[in-house]
Every structure is written in structure tokens, then in C-alpha cells.
């Protein structure tokens, strides 16, 4: 059993990283990043089995693909704090000559990243391809992916969702960040998507709900359940209900901070609400 306090402490530190990264360059996407902090921390610190160091082919380890690449701040923070690259490098986020591009990329060789993402809707296909290669290689590790709920408006997802079930790709766990928000407003006002559970089930997936996606213990439990459902002939989807901007009160429950950085004063408030735990970079 993982130490819950340690995971929560790391989550708080990751929130500080996110706020400081986007504040420094006055750009980036804090809202979705904050909402997924607990998920990334538990994924990298407990759920996934990864090898030391980074190898693009990732044989003999679990793989993760981020499809909604704009939440790069949380991805970079957790990768750095999992040892993929120096934590100090978070200082270079979105700066010229940096490996920490606005959206994640393999182009600059940042360890931990296996595909570029940012143009939405492409990550599930990529994750499925990697999952099928794992099967060909007799590698029984899993492939994880994360997608925004608004991102599911992109049609390619539904090609991939149909393909996964039709081909019994059962070594994948695709998580949907169900925060109900997108740039122009709530998902219900922009383009209502109805029941995602019903949709995934109709396409032949097994669906697991995590009602409190900002609670480390709930995530651990839900992902363990999802993991137990792999290898049974069906792809597995996790509907992770999160609060956009979680942990910073004025950023919560709104789409306003999807792609906006806090000013000096707002940063100070945000940091005050998330006291340093493991040390700032």
C-alpha cells in the first residue's frame, strides 16, 4: 500500500510547480493541469510499472500517452519529480531553446515523452498502436492514456474507440478527464456529449467510474479496479471526474483558467493555498 501522505505531499508540490511554470512565462494551461495533478502523481508513483531511465521503445514496462497535450505543466512536473529529467529544467517551460515545449514533443528529446500531442484527438490511436506492438512483442505490460472530455468531440477518437473493441485491445486503460469544461465554456453548452459511459459501453468497452478524481485514494482504488479488468478481451475506459483548477480556489469549477496564467498576486494566493512540501525547483 502506497503512503497516501507522500502522494498528497507530492501533489501539492506539483500544483506549486504548475502555477510557477505558467506564471513565469505568462502562458500555458493551469486549469486542466491542476485538475489532473492527483491522477498523474498516482499514475507515475504507484499505478504504472516503469523501468529506470528512459527508453523510447519502452519494452518491459507500462507506457503512458497524454492526448490532451495542453496540460503539459502537470506532465512535466510529474516527469521531473519522477526522475526523468532534472527538476530545475521546469524553469525553462515554454522558453526559447527549451525541451519543455508548450505542448509535449519528442522533437527535443525530452525523456519520458513518446509522442507529440497538442493537436487534439490523436492520442488514443497512438496508444492503441503501442498496445498492439506490446502484444506482438509478448510484453504483458499495459498502456495508459489520458484524454480531455471536450477532446472527445474530435472524430478520430471514435474511430479509435471502435477499433479498440473490434480488435480486442485489452491491454489499454484510457482515462477521460471528466471536468466538464472546455475553452468556450462547459462541455454541455459547447457540444453536449450525453452519457460517455453509455457511449463507451455501446462501443464495447468496459467502463470504470472514479467519482472523486481529485482524491488519491479514490484514484488508487479505481485504477486498481481498471487494471484487474484488463486482459479480458475488452479495452478499459476510466471516467475520472475532476475539478478543473483543483487546489486553487479561484481557479476551480470554471473554464476561465483553461489557458490563462495567474498574475503576481494570483500566484501568491495560489501558492499560499499550497504550501511547499518537497521544495520548489
Amino acid at each position: 500500500m502506497p503512503n497516501i501522505q507522500e502522494l498528497e505531499d507530492l501533489t501539492t508540490q506539483v500544483r506549486r510547480d504548475i502555477l510557477r511554470m505558467v506564471h513565469k512565462v505568462n502562458s500555458g494551461h493551469p486549469g486542466g493541469s491542476l485538475g489532473c495533478a492527483e491522477f498523474f502523481v498516482t499514475l507515475y508513483k504507484d499505478i504504472m510499472k516503469t523501468n529506470d531511465g528512459f527508453n523510447m521503445d519502452g519494452e518491459g514496462e507500462d507506457l503512458f500517452f497524454l492526448s490532451n497535450g495542453h496540460i503539459s505543466p502537470v506532465y512535466y512536473s510529474v516527469l521531473a519529480r519522477s526522475g526523468y529529467f532534472p527538476v530545475d529544467e521546469l524553469n525553462t517551460f515554454r522558453l526559447i531553446d527549451s525541451r519543455l515545449q508548450g505542448h509535449p514533443t519528442t522533437h527535443e528529446g525530452l525523456p519520458g515523452i513518446r509522442i507529440a500531442s497538442g493537436s487534439l484527438g490523436q492520442g488514443m490511436s497512438v496508444a492503441l498502436g503501442a498496445a498492439q506492438t506490446k502484444k506482438l512483442n509478448n510484453d504483458n505490460h499495459l498502456v495508459y492514456s489520458l484524454h480531455g472530455d471536450g477532446e472527445l468531440q474530435e472524430g478520430q477518437n471514435w474511430e479509435a474507440i471502435m477499433y479498440a473493441a473490434g480488435n480486442n485491445v485489452d491491454n489499454i486503460i484510457s482515462t477521460i478527464d471528466l471536468n466538464g469544461q472546455q475553452i468556450d465554456g462547459s462541455t454541455d453548452t459547447v457540444l453536449p456529449m450525453g452519457s460517455l459511459r453509455a457511449k463507451f459501453e455501446a462501443f464495447g468497452w468496459t467502463v470504470v467510474d472514479i467519482e472523486n478524481g481529485n482524491n488519491v485514494e479514490a484514484i488508487l482504488k479505481g485504477m486498481a479496479e481498471a487494471k484487474a479488468l484488463t486482459g479480458k478481451g475488452k479495452p478499459v475506459c476510466v471516467l475520472l471526474k475532476t475539478v478543473m483548477g483543483n487546489g486553487v480556489d479561484f481557479m476551480m469549477h470554471t473554464h476561465a483558467w483553461h489557458g490563462k496564467a495567474p498574475n503576481d498576486e494570483q500566484l501568491a494566493i495560489g501558492l499560499e493555498q499550497n504550501a511547499e512540501t518537497l521544495g520548489d525547483y
Partner: protein
């Protein structure tokens, strides 16, 4: 003048199929994906021999490109197969982000390029694909001229680490390059020696260029015909060397003059050796239904068009 013999018309897509079948036996990392066009792409044999390495994705090209990109992670070499239109324009952003920008070792194999797919008409006759693909950083762009060369190219791109666009066609065209010949990516092949004009052609227009050069030779015009199977990276050196002797050039391709081989050649010449050039290509237009021969004539892509372009460019020397 060196002459070439057509050993019998064959479709270039069957050359791809034969190459893929051979790769199936020789390279266990090669996997193949197809979007509901197995017969058209001649992928049947690979599928029959290696069902576990063949992926039918259905009519879902965007997903196919993403799957292929993901399959490279873990060491597979994916070959995707569909028509040129659905291999490029339909999935441009997927190729751009998941393949080219991500530097993935995906081979995008595209049949039915250009007007010569014939009766299906303009919806399927892409004339912009070379431009689309050559603009992507890191993408190698190959357009083969006949069955034998398409087979050789299919084998060669498996050995090349990086994304490749391999373009071929539907109709049966002259087969005249050596069986089991070498294929060096990025290397022009000089087919005839000539002094008056350089003809640089790609795809099945290479044969048209050879036929045109025979007729030109009879009227005392000596043409140097170069087969450019790789449009990117372009063999600048071979082209510059040839025009240094001939002083003028005709480019020939089954593609829009915007974005095609002709433009790549013009850039190389503008930078290194400004030379009068005429373009045998489509003139910023869509195609239409018809037989391949009718379309080649109507859109100015056949041997007559090449001869006329030669006569025109000679006057500009």
C-alpha cells in the same frame, strides 16, 4: 542513344505488393495496416502470410496513421496502405503531429495517385500530395516509375529509419527498369546521355520522357533523361551537373505544377544555376473522369506534352 525495353505493362501497386510480401519474409518487424483497400493496394499476400502482423483498420484513415505511429514504439516498422488522397490530405494533421514531428518510422504507401486512376474522377485523383508531403520536415518523398522500381523502393524504405511517403499508381504502365535493381533513396538515375536538353521526370512519366526523347532524337534533339524517384531529398547535384551541359530543362510529373517536383527543381536551380525550365504538370486544376490515356492527353502529361515543352524550352536557351 541508350534505349530501354518495356518488358510488359504492369501496375506499380503490384510492385508495392510484391515488395511488401518479400519484406514479410525477410523482416519480422514489418507490420502492415490497411483502410479497407487490401485488394487495391495488393496487400493480400502479406495478410495471408502474416495475419498477426496485418491490421485491417476499416475506413478510418486518421486512426490508421495514429496506430502506425504508436506501433513504432517497441520497434515495429509500419507500412500503411490506402489511396494517395486518403493517405495525405485526409490525414495531414495526423501525419504532421504523430508521425513527422514525432519522428516516427512510418512508411505511408499510397496508391492511385494522380489523374490516371481514371474513371473515379477528381474526388479520388489527388494532384497535391507530393507538395503536402514534401513540406513536412523530415519526410522522405518517393514517386516510383514502374513495377520493378516500386518493388525495389518498398524494400529500400524498410531499411531507412524515418518517415517516408511512397507514391505509386493504379494503371498498368511500362515496366523497364531492371528486375531486382538497386534503389538508393535520394539518388537520381540518369537514363540517357544528351547534350541539348535535360528532362527530369518522376513516376510513370519517366517512360513518357524516354518515348519523347526517342522522337526528339529523330529530329536531331539530344535529350538527357533523368529519373527522379526521390523528390525529397532531391539529388540537386545530378540535376545541376546535367543542366551545366545542356543549358535547359523540362520537368515532368503527374501532379500540380504548384508544389511538385518542378518547383523543387526550380528552387535548386535558382540557388545554384539559374536555367530556363518548362513544366509538364497539371495547371492548378482538378482532374475528371476518363481513361488514363485520355486524361494524360487532356491534362498535358504525355509524351507529346513533353516534346512540346522541350521545343519551347530550347527556344529560351
Amino acid at each position: 542513344m541508350k534505349t530501354y525495353t518495356n518488358t510488359g505493362n504492369k501496375d506499380t501497386r503490384s510492385g508495392f505488393g510484391a515488395g511488401l510480401t518479400e519484406l514479410g519474409q525477410t523482416n519480422e518487424n514489418v507490420v502492415a495496416l490497411c483502410a479497407d483497400l487490401i485488394g487495391s493496394l495488393k496487400m493480400d499476400q502479406f495478410k495471408a502470410n502474416h495475419p498477426e502482423r496485418f491490421f485491417q483498420v476499416g475506413i478510418a484513415e486518421a486512426n490508421m496513421i495514429g496506430l502506425a505511429a504508436g506501433m513504432t514504439i517497441g520497434g515495429k516498422i509500419p507500412f500503411t496502405g490506402t489511396f494517395a488522397n486518403f493517405s495525405t490530405g485526409r490525414v495531414y494533421d495526423q501525419i504532421r503531429q504523430s508521425v513527422a514531428y514525432s519522428g516516427k518510422n512510418v512508411k505511408i504507401c499510397a496508391s492511385h495517385a494522380g489523374v490516371t486512376l481514371g474513371e473515379d474522377g477528381a474526388t479520388h485523383q489527388i494532384l497535391e500530395d507530393i507538395g503536402l508531403m514534401k513540406m513536412l520536415p523530415g519526410m522522405t518523398v518517393i514517386n516510383t516509375c514502374d513495377y520493378n522500381q516500386t518493388k525495389a523502393a518498398t524494400l529500400a524504405i524498410a531499411e531507412h529509419n524515418g518517415p517516408v511517403y511512397l507514391r505509386f499508381g493504379r494503371p498498368k504502365v511500362a515496366n523497364f527498369t531492371p528486375e531486382n535493381g538497386d534503389f538508393e533513396i535520394g539518388k537520381a538515375v540518369k537514363l540517357t546521355e544528351g547534350n541539348d536538353v535535360t528532362i527530369v521526370a518522376t513516376g510513370h512519366l519517366v517512360w513518357e520522357a524516354l518515348e519523347a526523347s526517342k522522337v526528339l532524337n529523330e529530329v536531331g534533339i539530344s535529350a538527357e533523361v533523368i529519373n527522379i524517384h526521390t523528390i525529397k531529398p532531391l539529388d540537386d547535384k545530378a540535376i545541376i551537373e546535367s543542366v551545366s551541359k545542356t543549358g535547359c530543362i523540362v520537368t515532368a510529373e503527374e501532379h500540380n505544377h504548384l508544389g511538385g517536383l518542378g518547383e523543387s527543381v526550380a528552387r535548386a536551380l535558382a540557388l545554384h544555376k539559374p536555367t530556363p525550365q518548362e513544366f509538364v504538370a497539371t495547371n492548378d486544376t482538378f482532374g475528371e473522369s476518363g481513361t488514363p490515356a485520355q486524361l494524360m492527353a487532356k491534362y498535358g502529361l504525355d509524351r507529346d506534352a513533353i516534346q512540346n515543352a522541350v521545343k519551347k524550352v530550347l527556344k529560351r536557351k
